[in-house]
């Protein structure tokens, strides 16, 4: 079984960090992803840093969902815009 295992290139922490953005945006594929996976399985520091980057992205996304700017009366706003449009037609 082991003989069938593909040899994975070792990458260092600097190279791993360079791939984090692509990884968290789900753009890292194939060998590049396997190499990163292999690295962080063996490097606690990079694992923690990657986890931190993912948590930060999640936190920022949650801020967007919680922060609703502008008036609560969205429907009225949109209808007044569309009514204005209707008058202009």
């Amino acid at each position: 079984m082991n003989a069938l295992r593909k040899k994975i290139n070792e990458i260092n922490c600097e190279e791993a960090a360079r791939r984090f953005n692509d990884f968290i945006d789900n753009y890292l594929k194939g060998t590049a992803k396997e190499e990163l996976a292999h690295h962080i399985e063996n490097c606690r520091h990079c694992f923690d840093r990657l986890e931190f980057e993912i948590l930060l992205k999640t936190k920022i996304a949650s801020v967007a969902k919680e922060t609703v700017q502008g008036s609560d009366d969205v429907k009225n706003k949109i209808y007044s815009i569309l009514s204005k449009m209707q008058k202009d037609e």
Binding site: E14, N21, H39, I40, D48, L56, A61, A64, I78
Partner: protein
């Protein structure tokens, strides 16, 4: 009003309602005041409605409306005083890959559990919004569309009329600047860098050299 026009108006109203908050949020991030943001969204919806018949696939309505909004902003707001242009960009040469995690791990910040994670949990929405607000506008646009609105790089590239590679680099740069802003805020809270690079190297890779290499949660890699 004919039935077709009424149907079209109702369909557009539904789409506008669905995406209004996201559009308003994006407009607020580009403009510097609520009045301009409201104005920008209104103009976007008016223009969207005028050209609604040209939208063949309504599943793309969100990215289509965002494109209209961004173009409206570029055409009408870019040269206003409220807009902080790209010339405020701190520059490509300055710390292109700043890491908040690395800075925190070298700091005197102490918390129960994982200090870096605890720091993230302690951040307030206002602190994050303030850091986002300070991003250079072109980077902020790509960053918000990706990290807050979940658009793909290809969709963002179309909306901003830039290559996908530029989208990728702007997002990476925005994240780096944002992390630097958050680190500045951390320092203002009294967190200090306590460990010199000699105490702790930039990267402390165990890479299988230590016997107690932790078993890492493989969920992260799935």
């Amino acid at each position: 009003m004919t039935g077709i026009v009424r149907d079209s108006k109702e369909r557009f109203s539904q789409i506008a309602l669905e995406h209004f908050h996201a559009l308003r949020r994006y407009a607020a991030s580009l403009c510097k005041n609520d009045f301009d943001a409201d104005d920008l969204v209104s103009e976007t919806l008016l223009k969207g409605y005028q050209h609604f018949s040209k939208l063949r696939n309504t599943s793309k309505a969100k990215s289509w409306l965002f494109s209209i909004l961004h173009n409206q902003f570029i055409n009408e707001y870019r040269y206003r005083k409220h807009f902080i242009a790209i010339e405020n960009d701190p520059g490509e040469s300055e710390e292109p890959d700043f890491s908040l995690f690395e800075s925190l791990s070298k700091s005197d910040y102490v918390a129960n559990g994982n200090p870096e994670t605890r720091f993230l949990q302690s951040l307030t929405n206002i602190e994050i919004e303030t850091a986002i607000e300070q991003l250079p506008t072109d980077y902020k646009a790509a960053f918000i569309l990706c990290d807050m609105e979940d658009f793909t790089y290809a969709e963002i590239a179309t909306m901003l009329s830039i290559p996908v590679g530029t989208v990728r680099s702007r997002i990476a740069r925005a994240r780096s600047i944002l992390q630097k802003q958050l680190w500045q805020q951390a320092k203002e809270m009294g967190i200090k860098t306590s460990k010199s690079p000699k105490d702790k190297p930039e990267y402390t890779c165990t890479c299988g050299k230590e016997e107690d290499t932790v078993r890492l949660n493989s969920e992260l890699l799935k």
